[in-house]
């Protein structure tokens, strides 16, 4: 997945969970928990959104990679490559 | 303003004396009002001052001397008839209810009865079941008579003359428990209005509607509640018929809570009438059900502790107000 597409996907998913968060004005280092104040349920809903939109099942083992906006985008960008390999 | 220190009993006596002096059509009659000075010493000294024509001892027959009073009133006099205690008035019920109250109507407006009947009412003096009734609410049921209850020194002093000036029968109920109450009174008071209830203590959070002996208890309860931050308005009805509902309805519309305190029994009482008028006319302003504090529905007990238990006490009134303003638990 291209970084642009990953970013697009993250923007849409985040909008569902935290409508007030605008990905374009936030730095990649923005923490989902500390800065966006997502609780575990919000996070789980975000993961569900990302899974559904990317068509890729995200496992709990991968959660540590998904703590920031940038982390999520990078993770998504890496997904298809991993699948291709 | 000059004030004098005076008891409720002395204020009543001053009112009778004043009436005897002001209008020679006025005379006092009843059991033991003359030589004995009145069963409760209200008329003490009046026989000596005004003589037996104007202060008349009567036989022990309520029906006869109330009837004589009605006749005298029809004949142009302004009689003050004293009935010793409220229970004895039942012996004169036919005269009061069937004659005094109806003659204006039965005569097609030709004959009015300018009669004043005074009687002692209420409990609190260990006079037991046969001399402790509060039947003023009962009399308030009857069209054709006016029912007033002086609860303050000022009303004790001023209501009689207003009653004598009324062209129709007026019954004055004097709470026996108040006779020894002493206080300051404006020396110039000779007549008070007997049409309107009075706000004895203004307040914002709840309205206590009462009259007679429980006025004092209610004001004391309001003071206690003020310490708890509950600001209670206390209304003295003063006249039970015709009832001045505008005053208490106005108050309840402001405070949204009403507690009726009545020494009478609850069932079919004046407190029931007041509660009914509030729900009829101020229903949408109520924030809590109307509360009533009345006497226990038993013949009044003789022992002090049982009499106290049967009568509305300060703690009962406080609790009732708290039920309307508190969170109800």
């Amino acid at each position: 997945m291209t970084p642009d597409k990953a970013r697009e996907l993250m923007r849409d998913a985040l909008r569902q969970v935290a409508p007030d968060a605008d990905i374009d004005t936030l730095p990649p280092s923005t923490s989902l928990r500390d800065d966006l104040e997502l609780d575990s349920l919000d996070f789980e809903n975000l993961v569900t959104q990302l899974s559904e939109r990317s068509g890729h099942r995200i496992d709990e083992d991968d959660y540590p990679m998904l703590t920031t906006i940038g982390g999520c985008v990078d993770y998504l960008a890496g997904l298809d490559e991993a699948a291709l390999r | 303003m000059t004030t004098i220190e005076i008891t409720y009993r002395e204020a009543m006596r001053a009112a009778i004396r004043d009436a005897l002096l002001r209008d020679d059509r006025v005379f006092l009659m009843g059991e033991d009002v003359g030589r004995y000075g009145g069963c409760f010493a209200v008329s003490l000294g009046l026989l000596e001052e005004f003589g037996p024509d104007r202060v008349r001892d009567t036989p022990l027959s309520e029906s006869a001397f109330v009837g004589a009073g009605i006749g005298a009133a029809l004949g142009g006099m302004r009689p003050i008839v004293e009935i010793m205690t409220v229970n004895f008035s039942m012996l004169a019920l036919d005269q009061i209810v069937n004659n005094a109250a109806t003659l204006l109507h039965m005569s097609g407006g030709q004959l009015n009865v300018p009669l004043v009947i005074r009687m002692t009412t209420g409990a609190g003096r260990q006079l037991a079941a046969q001399h402790s009734h509060s039947l003023e609410g009962w009399y308030a049921h009857i069209p054709g008579i006016r029912i007033v209850v002086p609860a303050t020194l000022e009303d004790a002093r001023g209501m009689l003359w207003a009653a004598l000036r009324d062209p129709d029968p007026v019954l004055i109920f004097e709470p026996g428990a108040l006779y020894p109450v002493k206080g300051e009174l404006d020396a110039s008071v000779r007549e008070v209005d007997i049409d309107r209830a009075a706000v004895r203590r203004p307040g914002r959070d709840a309205t206590i509607i009462t009259y007679g002996a429980t006025l004092q208890t209610s004001v004391a309860a309001a003071e206690q509640l003020a310490d708890e931050g509950i600001d209670v308005e206390v209304i003295d009805l003063r006249t039970l018929r015709p009832l001045d509902d505008a005053t208490f309805l106005d108050s309840v519309t402001r405070t949204h809570r009403a507690v009726v305190v009545d020494e009478g029994w609850r069932t079919g009482s004046i407190s029931a009438e007041i509660s009914a008028r509030i729900t009829e006319q101020a229903f949408f302003d109520l924030d809590a059900p109307v509360e009533r504090v009345c006497s226990a529905e038993v013949p009044m007990p003789y022992p002090k502790h049982l009499e106290d238990a049967a009568l509305p006490q300060q703690a009962d009134i406080v609790a009732a107000v708290q039920r309307t303003t508190g969170d109800g638990r």
Partner: protein, 467 residues
């Protein structure tokens, strides 16, 4: 029997509502709907609400498109009846059928009536299962008359052929809904004046009655009668911060009042226990590998499950303190506080939670919390909790000493799951542990009862196969 069409109109969702914006259709032409189904989402000046359909039918034609604002009473769609008798005879008063044989009408607190209505009208509406807020009053000043209520009852009566599908909520919430229906006359008038939705007001009077103070706390803003809202030209967004701030302030005050009452009246006692949840977490993780992403079980659900089991077993902590004595609840309805984005707290209840296995409970919790955050709760979901579980573990705290929601008698607090050195069978290891607290009402129970409750809760947490 010939099919007949009827209109689905913009409902009146409050006395001060004269128009509403259709946010979303939840049905499309051809869909079959049953009485009580949520068919649309409507935004009023005060809130976004889900709107139920009051008759069985099939959606024929959608008239109003999402984003459109229409006045109350305007047709939004047409529905057709399905093989049902066209006219339901109006029952005579004397032979009004008891509501019992019917499927339960959609439970919701009586809400605020669209127009003045006396106590008799409210009672009749309750008897016939009619929601007064949806009744059109034909009396003086729009007052609702008995005939209006009967008419509404006749319109919503189910046809013999149709059966209303059972709602998932299980038994109706216990006394919550009834309590909410008791409103002092002055409070009702005040609510109308201040534009307060009575359905959302917590009553603190006798038997849970709503009184003027409760309405004032809910209003928290000066009366709005001064200026009429200039709705037409102002974009909706411009109004929102104002409305949101007012709602937030009202919510803060409502919480303040309830919690102050709790601490004033309830002699709380507190117990705590620390439980090893290593096995439970491993078990959940294993389960989650198989479950669809959207149905993954959060540890929070595990605590709800353990609490539901404990509350079912130790019934002395599941119910209400009312009028000087404890009234046990007939089912376990778990109150679950949900923090809202932008502040504030809302506590919906999961009805009959003890009957749900962990995976179902997890899904139900997620669904409820998600709707709570989106402002999509139904009124009935806000009442009826019999015990509350508060979980602050997400925020990093290890221990919660919670304040009980009156008239409930117990609250379970869950802290953060932390890794700690921990002895198991005489050997020291690193285990995941969590501290669970119980706040309980000493009027309703004693420490020993509370201890038994925590013990059952803890044992279930450490033996996840029980969950």
């Amino acid at each position: 029997m010939a099919a007949e069409t009827f209109e689905f109109t913009m409902p009146s969702l409050g006395a001060d509502m004269d128009e509403g914006k259709l946010v979303e259709w939840l049905v499309k032409p051809g869909d079959k709907v049953a009485k009580g189904d949520i068919v649309a989402v409507v935004e009023t000046a005060k809130a976004i609400m889900e709107v139920e359909c009051f008759r069985d039918g099939v959606v024929q034609q959608v008239i109003v498109e999402p984003g459109t604002t229409v006045p109350v009473g305007a047709p939004m769609a047409t529905f057709a009846t399905v093989g049902a008798p066209v006219v339901v005879p109006r029952p005579e008063p004397a032979v009004t059928p008891a509501p019992a044989p019917r499927a339960p009408a959609p439970e919701r607190p009586s809400g605020q009536p669209a127009a003045p209505s006396g106590p008799l009208i409210r009672r009749l509406a309750a008897e016939l299962g009619v929601d007064l807020s949806a009744v059109h009053g034909t009396g003086r000043g729009g007052a609702i008359k008995r005939a209006d209520v009967r008419q509404a009852a006749a319109e919503q009566a189910p046809t013999p052929a149709a059966t209303t599908p059972p709602r998932p909520s299980g038994p109706s919430p216990p006394s919550g809904a009834e309590r909410a229906a008791r409103v002092s006359p002055y409070a009702r008038e005040l609510a109308e004046r201040l534009g307060v939705d009575l359905g959302a007001v917590q009553g603190t009077g006798r038997g849970g009655a709503i009184r003027a103070d409760d309405v004032r706390a809910a209003a928290a803003a000066p009366p709005r009668e001064a200026a009429a809202p200039e709705r037409p030209d102002r974009p909706a967004a411009a109004q929102e911060p104002d409305a949101a701030a007012r709602r937030a302030e009202a919510a803060r005050l409502a919480t303040a009042k309830l919690m102050a009452r709790s601490k004033r009246e309830i002699p709380h006692y507190y117990l705590r226990t620390t439980v090893d949840v290593t096995d439970a977490l491993a078990w959940i993780k294993e389960r989650n590998r198989e479950l669809p992403v959207g149905e993954r079980i959060l540890p929070a659900a595990m605590f709800l499950r353990a609490t539901a089991i404990a509350a079912g077993q130790v019934s002395a902590l599941n119910g209400f303190w009312e009028d000087g004595h404890f009234v046990p609840a007939t089912s376990v309805n778990l109150g679950v506080p949900v923090s809202l984005r932008g502040g504030g707290l809302i506590t919906p209840a999961i009805a009959d939670a003890a009957a749900l296995k962990l995976p179902e409970l997890a899904v139900r919790m997620r669904e409820l919390a998600t709707r709570a955050k989106a402002g999509r709760l139904r009124g009935s979901e806000l009442t009826g909790a019999t015990i509350t579980v508060t979980n602050l573990g997400d925020l990093g705290v290890e221990l919660v000493y919670g304040v009980i929601y009156p008239p409930q008698v117990a609250l379970v607090g869950v802290g953060r799951i932390v890794d700690r050195p921990w002895a198991v069978d005489g050997l020291l290891g690193v285990r995941s542990v969590v501290t669970v607290t119980l706040s309980a009402d000493h009027r309703a129970s004693d420490g020993a009862t509370g201890a038994r409750f925590l013990d059952v809760l803890g044992r279930n947490l450490s033996q996840p196969e029980n969950l």
